[in-house]
Amino acid sequence: MLWVNRITGALLIALAFPLWQISGDYPEMARLFPRFMLVVIAGLAAIMIVRSFIPAVAPVGEGEGDRSLPATARPLAVFAVVLAATAASDYVGFFVAMIGLAVLLVPILGIRRWQSYALACIILMLFVYVLFVLFLNVPLTQWRPPGL
């Protein structure tokens, strides 16, 4: 975990520099607070890096979830599918996209008892339709022919 702290700290400091430069174009009062916060973030990031090199104060056992790389691959794959389904919903409509998402999640999550999963998805879609479409009148995205 210490290497995560060092890389994150370095990234935050590296990010603060271009943002400081960009804020130079703003009126004086408009850039004051963002710059103040950038200095605070860079300072705290530097402290985090330094602490990771001092054994007596280096943090132990931080972070949630599984530490292994394969365990992180699955959530990132799920995120990619959610992102794709969201983008597709603009063309194929919300419900088709979400059903597609639910289907794609089956192999990614390794679901074997698909009957209960399918039933839960149907109930969820009905709930969404009743609450958001009928009750709250949310104009969910609809299917639209290509080119429109």
């Binding site: 975990m1 995560v4 994150t8 935050l12 960009i22 804020s23 703003y26 009126p27 009062m29 408009a30 850039r31 004051l32 607070f33 963002p34 103040f36 916060m37 950038l38 605070v40 973030i41 705290l44 990031a45 985090m48 104060v57 280096a58 943090p59 132990v60 056992g61 931080e62 972070g63 949630e64 979830g65 599984d66 365990a71 992180t72 699955r74 959530p75 990132l76 799920v78 995120f79 959610v82 389904a85 969201t86 919903s89 919300f94 998402l101 999640l105 999550l109 390794g110 679901i111 209960s116 999963y117 998805c121 969820l124 879609m125 969404v128 958001f132 709250l136 949310v138 969910l140 995205t141």
Partner: protein, 500 residues
């Protein structure tokens, strides 16, 4: 007459329905291991957009209270706390279940949760109005220091790692500056896009940071199921016996005080409250051989205190705008979204709104008890839902919830971006709650900072620390940093000792 009108308003069908939805939703969310009250309030927030403010806040505060109580079901039934606030309940609650006394554990948990919640609601009613007078003495420097103090306390005590918590909070403040500068009209960090000129939406960010990030964490163990425990319930008794009440009354009274007091402290939530009360109950129960092995006093201590923190957490929220817990931070956002600013005006101009919400919160604690005992024996089914189903539910509700805010895809992409950032933050040990608070307090902090700079006749720091209130807040900020540093150091030492 005003009191009667407030009580009558609470009992209107719309408000009662909102309360019931919040209570049932909170019970289910609390009972599901992994889903927290933060996630529940964040997901429900978009649904309350079209509602009138009183109904919206009654629904959200009801969900907050019942989610904390709901955590006791899985703690008692499955030895898996639904929320971190119910971790102490699992010790004695599950031991009672193994003895075949599931019903007894649930009715003690319900009675104690209701007692703690009602006590804290009454405390809120008594303490908040006079405390709100303090906010009248606040000028720009005080508001700036208040934001710094609120962020420091959530960033240090509530997040576990001081530096990372502070970075998370500072990042939230920095992100809040994205968009048009309200004074000059100049777009900041918008990179030429019109969407970013409107700023980063608080609600999509909260849904991403709390809800989607949790769904992504659950993807690491999608097939995780909780072992079913054979439950012998026998006849289902709804209320505790007089003998049971006699046994726990002192514990309940003590824990209610502890929980409310800890809840009022910004940053200290239900988990700290329940463990403190549990340890105190242990100290007072030296002659109880069952303590830790199935004692109703253990269940009562933990459950009274964790629900008592909910009302306590709303005291600094309503009076000064400092949330007492991460969930209260989302409630602060809900208040602002509905056009209400915490402080004295909530108890003067908007007194009807505020008192109706508080009385509604009090009633919700009672409703929670009846609903909880009514559906308690079936909650095991809810608590055992596999992660794979919860993931798809949370993801779909996060997407549609963000879309419904303004019927645009920009909010959905904002939620997705904060979702993946929140996931990576949690993996790296950065708590998302300080970032959420930074996003909420950002405009207030910036305004206070800028006005202090303009008004300062000399060094800005001296101007900011020029009043007794600012100085007190500054001292409290230093104290919170020092105590967090001490606690962290002790934790690191203990962790290293355990490794050896």
């Amino acid at each position: 007459m005003e009191v009667l009108s407030i009580i009558a308003d609470v009992f209107t069908p719309a408000h009662l329905l909102a309360m019931l939805v919040g209570v049932v939703g909170g019970l289910c969310i609390g009972a599901l291991p992994g889903l927290t009250s933060n996630l529940g309030v964040a997901l429900l927030l978009p649904v309350t957009f079209g509602m009138e403010p009183i109904s919206a806040l009654i629904m959200l505060t009801s969900l907050y209270a019942s989610a904390i109580y709901g955590g006791s079901f899985s703690a008692i039934l499955l030895h898996t706390p639904g929320t971190s606030a119910s971790a102490a309940t699992a010790i004695d609650g599950f031991a009672l279940t193994r003895k075949g006394e599931f019903n007894k554990a649930i009715r003690i948990s319900t009675f104690s949760s209701v007692a703690g919640g009602v006590f804290s609601a009454l405390a809120l009613l008594m303490i908040a109005p006079p405390l709100s007078l303090l906010s009248l003495k606040f000028g720009p420097p005080e508001y700036f220091m208040l934001a710094v103090f609120g962020l420091t306390i959530i960033g240090t005590l509530a997040s576990g790692n001081m530096v990372k918590g502070l970075i998370s909070g500072a990042a939230g403040l920095a992100i809040s500056t994205v968009g048009l500068d309200l004074e000059s009209g100049f777009p900041r960090f918008a990179f030429g896009t019109t969407d970013l000129q409107g700023g980063i939406g608080f609600v999509p960010a909260v849904i991403g940071l709390f809800s989607l990030s949790q769904a992504l964490l659950m993807c690491e163990e999608p097939l995780k199921t909780i072992q079913q425990v054979k439950v012998t319930t026998g006849a289902w008794r709804l209320f505790p016996t007089w003998e049971e009440i006699r046994q726990i009354r002192a514990t309940v009274a003590r824990s209610a005080l502890i929980g409310t007091g800890i809840g009022i402290l910004p940053g200290a939530g239900g988990d700290i409250g329940s463990w403190t009360a549990y340890n105190e109950a242990k100290r007072f129960s030296r002659n109880d051989p069952d303590f830790g092995k199935g004692s109703i006093r253990g269940v009562a201590a933990s459950e009274t205190a964790n629900n008592a923190t909910t009302g306590g957490a709303m005291v600094p929220l309503l009076t000064l705008g400092i949330p007492g817990s991460p969930t209260a931070a989302v409630l602060l956002g809900a208040l602002i979204i509905h056009g209400l600013q915490p402080g004295r005006t909530l108890f003067t101009e908007h007194a009807h709104f505020t008192y109706t919400v508080i009385v509604g919160f009090l009633l919700a604690n009672l409703v929670m008890g009846f609903v909880g005992m009514g559906i308690g024996r079936y909650m095991g089914v809810v608590a055992r839902l596999p992660n794979s189903i919860l993931i798809v539910v949370v993801v779909v509700l996060s997407v549609i919830g963000s879309f419904s805010l303004g019927n645009n895809m920009y909010d959905v992409y904002t939620m997705l971006a904060f979702g993946v950032v929140g996931y990576l933050m949690r993996k790296g040990g950065f708590a998302p709650a300080p970032m959420v608070l930074g996003l909420i307090l950002g405009p207030l902090a910036e305004q206070g900072f800028r006005q202090s700079v303009i008004l300062a006749d000399g060094p800005v720091l001296l101007h900011i620390l020029g009043s007794p209130i600012s100085l007190t807040l500054f001292a409290l900020t230093l104290l919170s940093v020092a105590s967090a540093a001490y606690l962290e150091r002790s934790r690191i030492k203990a962790a290293r000792a355990a490794r050896l």
